[in-house]
């Protein structure tokens, strides 16, 4: 048995990593819904979820239980196979795309195996992601078609038209970054941004590629069907769009798929344009390595201070406990410099991802939805030409630079 384990160690490691990442992503998804509801509520001067647990922290658990226990009726006249396939496809493709993201620069050594953060490091990383995005339109389109109902059909049609239109701009806007890095691998794209470690934030792709970033982010929001591009599920016109006829866990699968692709897009934005796991400070400023502790300890103390005055007894126990854990984690990072060094990369990447997730929610709280013709003319007449111009700019700049 142990021979077998030693021989197939890489397969086992991958399986464990997949299970772990799946667990983390699904948990983050659940709390992303809480975060979104809270932030949107505060933007609109409301409190948001507040009843289940202190500050509504247990709301995701309640939602999950509800999704699992609700009745799951299959409407009459649906195309059974496609009706069941669509949510599966949406969820599977969204979760697969996370596997390509690298989460940190250095491997951990466990039992003599170098374990990198991230499941696979493909040398066609970004292309593989686009391939997955290209397929993910089927989840929405087929859901709309197979429901045998007019509103989902309209939602599915809108969605496929929208995704085909914005995929062009999405792919074109990345070409500049690929030209600068000379590789499709996400890891290489990050290391290309660290060519001048003393520049820090100034070495990131965002400065030369600001046009590319704007096009990419807008097109990516459209690809994930989020506000202001959520026409496939426009509730004021189409009831709930493509998932009108879905209930219970099949509906939850669409939901999880949407939030997972939000996370993927945030990862991609931070990796391709904002230096991934690179710190924004010059490499010689080693004192910035204490930043995780400097953030964690005061945050933990604040959670304790907030928790001891909470109105329910449960909250007065849970919140200070949570704050204690956060503060102790921050203190431990100071106590173990090796761990602190290791945590730098993931810390910066996760912070950037968090910022992008916040921008997503922020847009949902503030922007109105596009009209269909506006959506089309914006995609074809503005985004596509601008991203093409960006490709030409970048290519000629690189040619000039290299020939000198």
């Amino acid at each position: 048995m142990s021979d077998f384990l030693a021989e197939h160690a890489d397969i086992l490691i991958s399986l464990v990593k997949i299970a772990l990442l799946l667990f983390i992503v699904l948990t983050v998804n659940a709390y992303l819904t809480w975060f979104e509801r809270k932030v949107v509520a505060h933007i609109q001067s409301r409190w948001g979820p507040h009843r289940v647990g202190p500050h509504g922290l247990l709301q995701p658990l309640a939602d999950g239980a509800k999704f699992l226990l609700k009745e799951d009726p299959t409407p009459a006249g649906v195309d059974k196979f496609t009706y069941f396939l669509a949510p599966l496809m949406a969820l599977a493709l969204a979760l697969t795309s996370i596997a390509i993201i690298p989460f940190g620069p250095d491997p951990i050594r466990i039992l003599g195996h170098d374990i990198y953060l991230g499941i696979v490091d493909l040398n066609i990383g970004i292309l593989a992601l686009f391939a997955i995005t290209a397929l993910s339109v089927y989840g929405v389109a087929l859901a709309g078609w197979s429901s045998n109902s007019k509103y989902p059909l309209l939602g599915g049609l809108r969605s496929s038209a929208q995704m085909v239109s914005y995929e062009l701009a999405l792919t074109m806007s990345v070409v500049g970054v690929l030209l600068m890095a000379g590789s499709f691998s996400l890891r290489d794209i990050i290391t290309a941004q660290a060519r001048h470690p003393e520049l820090g934030i100034l070495g990131w792709n965002i400065f030369p590629q600001i046009l590319g970033f704007l096009c990419f982010f807008i097109a990516a929001v459209a690809e994930t069907n989020r506000v202001p591009f959520d026409l496939p599920e426009a509730e004021s016109e189409l009831v709930a769009g493509f998932h009108t006829e879905y209930a219970s866990f099949k509906f939850a699968m669409f939901f999880i798929a949407e939030y997972t692709s939000m996370i993927t897009v945030s990862c991609l934005c931070s990796i391709m344009f904002f230096g991934g796991w690179l710190s924004p400070f010059p490499a010689s400023w080693t004192f910035t390595h204490y930043l995780p502790s400097v953030i964690l300890i005061p945050f933990g103390l604040w959670v304790i201070w907030d928790g001891i005055r909470y109105e329910t007894i449960f909250g007065r126990i849970l919140l200070p406990g949570l704050g204690m854990v956060i503060a102790v984690l921050g203190a431990l990072l100071i106590a173990f410099p090796a761990v602190n060094e290791f945590i730098q990369g993931p810390f910066w990447l996760l912070s950037k991802i968090f910022v992008f997730l916040f921008v997503y929610v922020w847009m949902r709280g503030t922007l109105p939805r596009f009209r269909y013709d506006q959506l089309m003319s914006f995609g074809w007449k503005l985004l596509l030409p601008v991203s093409l111009a960006n490709v030409v700019f970048t290519a000629s700049a690189i040619l000039l630079w290299r020939s000198r």
Binding site: F81, T82, N123, L127, A128, A131, A134, L135, A161, V164
Partner: protein, 166 residues
């Protein structure tokens, strides 16, 4: 049996079953879905040969863009289940013998060329750089001409679609 060979057989079976299902399905959408399975299985075969770029482009262009348009048009036309008609007379007579003849011909050709076909090392078939050199240096004029041809076809489609307005 080595692992790549096993993967090859799984992908090949997927492609053949998908192609079969494409023909026997009675609903256009199901046929289109079967075609997507074939495309993805082919992409997997390219990946097995080490042509990652071609595999990714196969999925992006065929599995994504083109098949999405197929599905889109089928949805837009709201095409229903097709009715089975009687086979054509010619097909019922000559279909089976011709199929067997074609299969035998292909099998013979493959069997005869077996010793002359070199086995490819993974990663050597179409590296991205070599492909780019072929497209943008060696065959740049044919490539650009093809692009122009496609552009003209697109323009033609737009002109035909807007005929009433002009």
């Amino acid at each position: 049996m080595s692992a790549p060979l096993m993967v090859f057989f799984v992908l090949a079976a997927m492609a053949i079953l998908g192609a079969f299902s494409l023909i026997i399905q009675r609903h256009p959408i199901h046929s289109a879905l079967s075609l997507i399975v074939v495309m993805i299985a082919l992409a997997g075969l390219y990946l097995l040969m080490g042509a990652e770029f071609v595999a990714a482009v196969q999925i992006i262009v065929y599995g994504g863009a083109i098949m999405v348009l197929f599905v889109f048009v089928i949805m837009l036309l709201n095409a229903g289940v097709e009715e089975r008609t009687n086979f054509s007379k010619l097909a019922s007579f000559a279909g089976l013998p011709l199929t067997i003849a074609l299969m035998g011909f292909l099998a013979a050709a493959v069997a005869r060329s077996a010793d002359r076909v070199q086995t490819y090392q993974t990663g050597t078939v179409a590296p991205t750089k070599a492909l780019a050199n072929l497209l943008f240096q060696d065959f740049v004029y044919p490539f650009e001409l093809t692009s122009f041809l496609i552009l003209i076809a697109i323009l033609g489609a737009i002109v035909l679609a807007q005929r009433e307005k002009i």
